[in-house]
């Protein structure tokens, strides 16, 4: 493999790589604002300037410059090497590149940083980006000097509403055009552009349009400063109080790798962030997925319910056991849920097996919009997993509706909250001896005789199998809400009351049993540079 030297470190590269991309892959960060591994090269921030040493025997390319001599109060003619942006410069074998070790590059970066802060407002205390802002990080790393400009900074529009999800602050903007490129290249909707010149530069939405494609929150995510803010996250939390859990988005069958950012003090989830995963979502997530965290706290079943009334866990369990005992095994039906993890579904399957139940069905959330970028029309994270676990025996919800009508179902034990077709909910009304483990209110929780509150995906470790058959683990972020418990724990309690033995006791044993034959996700890289 060819390689070049960056600050005395050998970096291997593949033909066609730029210096910054090869360094990024090797875990060496060349400071940058506008470059993003998932976007085209703009080379406009000039932060990644590096010094290229001339090939042996050739002179360096030098520029004539006038240097200010503070001692004699005059400009002195000087020469300095022509620096190159590492994001655009193709790597060549044997090339010698100086980044932090080049005094010229270091000076240039300091000057770029100073320039970017020239007209920057004093906004850190009210800016959502504070704490994860490139300007703050790079000021300390590359500038660390005070303001020299005495003039009033240029003022530009603040709080410009770009669309339903994004608010723009032109004063904070450094014109890196990452948002412009995300819109054009990822969402294929070139709705953003730059107008004016020099310090009057600002990002603008195409006339007559709003920033309203399916990936608007990615513009905010790639913004290295606080110029674009999400109206959803705006002023809700300070990032240094948040902790992150490595999760998998459950918004659709794609299963994008994500971070769940939550506040451990009030046990609330505040946002998702994409987590780099070359096998699934690369660097991105769709708006629907990004905002899907809201469901963790909305419309949740937080207490055990008996015929629509809140009751204690013990009473509900007792009653649930009674209901299940009413029907013979032949007439007992199990309803799996593609919304839930392999663990929860395996537990319910095991319960069904122990009861001798012969009817297995599955359901999930209704179909939605899909696209050829990331979004799947199947809005369930684990359809493939459920089908694999049941060995293909699970029948779709329509069959359950038919069975209910024919009176073949004497008892129904259901996991999940939503059903594939909302029009079918009437059929559930007549279900007898109906026990459900639900996270949310919906057709299942509304019609079940006993509802046991299940924990959501953010409150338990879980495994999900995405549309390509990739098995991915999602880590717990917050504690179970209200009286909820992971569904497999309820199943365990219920089995105890029914004097049934399940083939597992601990969550780890259950997890081992719930592993299908699918390939598991290669551990995704979490290079911070992707931001």
């Amino acid at each position: 493999m060819p390689s070049f030297k960056l600050d005395d470190k050998d970096i291997a590269f593949e033909p066609g790589d730029t210096i910054i991309r090869a360094a990024h892959r090797a875990g060496v960060d060349v400071p940058h604002y506008c470059w993003h591994p998932g976007l085209s090269v703009a080379a406009n921030c000039r932060m990644c300037l590096v010094e290229l040493m001339p090939p042996p025997g050739r002179p360096a390319m030098m520029l004539d410059v006038l240097e200010w001599d503070a001692l004699h109060q005059t400009y002195v003619p000087q020469k300095k090497p022509k620096l190159q942006p590492a994001c655009q410069q193709a790597a060549a074998d044997g090339m010698v590149v100086k980044s932090q070790t080049s005094e010229h590059a270091v000076r240039a970066r300091s000057a770029v940083q100073e320039l970017l802060l020239l007209n920057h407002p004093v906004d850190c205390p009210i800016c959502d980006q504070a704490g994860e802002c490139r300007l703050q990080d790079y000021w300390l790393e590359h500038q660390a000097s005070k303001k020299r400009m005495r003039d009033e900074p240029i003022h530009k529009p603040k709080g410009v509403v770009f669309g339903p999800t994004i608010v723009y602050d032109a004063e904070r903007c450094i014109m890196c055009t990452r948002c412009v490129r995300v819109s054009a290249e990822l969402a294929k909707d070139p709705v953003l552009s730059m107008r004016e010149r020099g310090n009057l530069n600002e990002i603008t939405v195409a006339p007559g349009r709003q920033l309203d494609h399916q990936y608007t929150l990615m513009t905010e995510y790639v913004c290295p400063v606080g110029a674009l803010t999400s109206s959803d996250f705006r002023f809700k939390a300070r990032v240094w109080f948040l902790r992150s859990a490595r999760s998998t988005c459950v918004g659709c069958a794609t299963g994008c790798s994500s971070f769940t950012d939550f506040d451990p003090r009030n046990q609330k989830v505040y946002r998702y962030r994409p987590r780099e995963n070359a096998a699934v979502n690369k660097y991105w997530m769709c708006d629907e997925g990004m905002l899907d965290y809201q469901r963790i706290h909305q419309n949740r079943v937080l207490e055990a319910r008996l015929k629509g009334e809140g009751v204690s866990d013990a009473v509900a369990l007792e009653k649930a056991a009674d209901l299940i005992k009413q029907a013979s095994p032949q007439k007992t039906a199990i309803l799996l849920s593609a919304e839930h993890s392999n663990e929860d579904n395996t537990a319910l399957l095991d319960l069904g097996k122990a009861l001798g139940a012969l009817q297995i069905y599955y359901t999930g959330r209704p179909q939605g919009q899909g696209d050829d970028i990331l979004m799947s029309a199947d809005k369930n994270p684990n359809t493939a997993g459920v089908l694999a676990l049941s060995g293909g025996k699970a029948k779709p919800f329509v069959d359950l509706v038919a069975a209910l009508k024919e009176g073949k179902v004497g008892a129904l034990i259901a996991l999940g909250s939503a059903i594939g077709n909302p029009n079918d909910s009437a059929a559930l009304k007549d279900a007898k001896n109906f026990v459900a483990f639900s996270t949310h209110y919906g057709p299942i929780a509304d019609h079940a005789g006993v509802v046991l509150p299940a924990s959501s995906w953010a409150e338990a470790d879980g495994t999900f199998v995405n549309r390509t058959g990739l098995r991915q683990e999602s880590d717990r972020a917050i504690n179970p809400q209200g009286a909820s418990r992971p569904a497999f724990r309820w199943v365990q309690e219920l089995a105890k009351l029914l004097s049934l033995t399940l083939p597992w006791k601990k969550a780890s044993e259950l997890r081992a049993l719930s592993q299908g034959t699918e390939t598991s996700s290669p551990s995704p890289s979490v290079a911070p540079g992707a931001q």
Binding site: V122, A130, K146, K147
Partner: protein
């Protein structure tokens, strides 16, 4: 008078005796903080004893791992709370060693003056308390009066009498006040008078001398093997003083002597402390002469020093600098360091491990008192029970430093 036992032979007179187990502390007023001594007495003689220090446990080294490096200062204040300024400066020097920065000369002299004042306050307290515990109350009151004057300077400079939290990585929280030099000169002069007067009051006092001389003796070898440093070690004749042996700040440039004892008893420890106060006065005078009246106190390094408030409120660069230092904490380069200074009771060492983040990975303090207290058992075994109090007092154990 004829003996009472003339008709009895010796065996009949001997009462059956067994060693008495006596427990002192941990809450006994003579125990200088929460220390417990379990003694096995034969009559009045201590046959065996067990010194237990674990009753004060705040876990402050662990607490240091929670906040930023700057937030450690209040904790080190509470190690030796009789001379907190020495701890502040010692910790600041350790961090600065790791960062590879040196504070301006003005700050170094300022730190030395405040440090020597703190040393005086430490020694005044120890010697005063020793005298009081032997019944001499006047010297105690006089010396505490002197300490009070030191604390008034501290209050003027730092705003707090006792726990100043005044040190900063890269400088001090504030520059010297306007009247600092004058005030200090006056106080030092007064304290020297007190030292002379105390000497005159006590050194001709038979009781005082009898209670201290040849009591609580420890050999120089034992003291060294126990890890003793400071006045207690020097009382055994070993002239080890970090300020001389490994000069830091400007100690290499000022004239002072290292007083040593010869008999290594409680009396020598008392006298070494008196003599050290005079040396501290010499150091302070030289520092006052050399310290500039104007000029920067803090290093000019935006990585560690907070910007002035008007810059924080009016420029983005100042805001960012403030934000970075306050929210993330100043960052020490990844690595470890051992830095040591002469504290009130000996070598005060800081072993720091940084992982490069704004939060300490590990802070370990080598408190002189902990090691000295470890030798208490050897000092009092074989002594009379009544000698525990002055012997223990002469070691100047500070409870906060024995927090393990």
């Amino acid at each position: 008078m004829e003996p009472l036992d003339q008709d009895l032979d010796a065996s009949e007179l001997e009462l059956p005796t067994e060693p008495m187990l006596l427990n002192v502390g941990p809450a006994h007023p003579a125990m200088h903080g929460t220390v417990r001594i379990v003694m096995e007495l034969s009559g009045e003689i201590i046959e065996r004893c067990d010194v237990q220090v674990g009753y004060l446990h705040r876990g402050f080294e662990k607490m240091c791992e929670r906040g930023t490096w700057t937030q450690v200062f209040p904790y080190v204040d509470r190690c030796n709370y009789v001379s907190p300024m020495l701890n502040n400066v010692g910790f600041a020097l350790a961090c600065e060693k790791m960062l590879g920065i040196t504070v301006p000369d003005r700050c170094q002299y300022y730190r030395m003056i405040l440090g020597e004042l703190a040393r005086m306050s430490d020694h005044l307290t120890c010697d005063g308390a020793m005298a009081m515990e032997l019944g001499a109350f006047t010297p105690f009151l006089w010396m505490i009066k002197g300490r009070e004057m030191v604390w008034e300077i501290m209050e003027e400079e730092t705003g707090a009498r006792l726990t100043h939290s005044f040190g900063r990585v890269g400088g001090m929280a504030a520059p010297p006040t306007e009247g600092f030099k004058e005030h200090t000169r006056a106080v030092v002069k007064h304290i020297l008078t007190i030292v002379d007067e105390v000497e005159r009051l006590l050194l001709g006092n038979r009781i005082f001398l009898d209670r201290l001389e040849n009591v609580g003796v420890i050999s120089a070898d034992d003291a060294i093997s126990l890890g003793w440093t400071g006045p207690c070690l020097r009382a055994t004749g070993v002239p080890y003083d970090v300020r001389k042996a490994h000069p830091y700040m400007k100690y290499g440039e000022v004239d002072f002597d290292v007083p040593v004892g010869s008999a290594s008893d409680s009396f020598d420890r008392f006298m070494v402390r008196l003599a050290e106060m005079r040396q501290s006065a010499r150091i302070i005078e030289q520092c006052i002469e050399r310290m500039a009246d104007t000029g920067p106190v803090n290093v000019d390094d935006p990585r560690v020093i907070l910007p002035p408030k008007e810059e924080v409120y009016n420029t983005i660069e100042g805001t960012i600098q403030h934000f970075k230092i306050v929210m993330e904490g100043l960052k020490l380069p990844a690595g470890e360091v051992y830095s040591y200074t002469e504290g009130g009771n000996g070598e005060l060492g800081f072993y720091l491990v940084s992982d490069g983040s704004g939060t300490p990975h590990r802070v370990r303090i080598r408190p002189p008192c902990f090691l000295i207290t470890a030798g208490l058992e050897r000092v009092i075994t074989g002594q009379m029970m009544a000698d525990v109090v002055p012997s223990f007092g002469s070691l100047n154990m500070i409870g906060g430093e024995c927090d393990r």
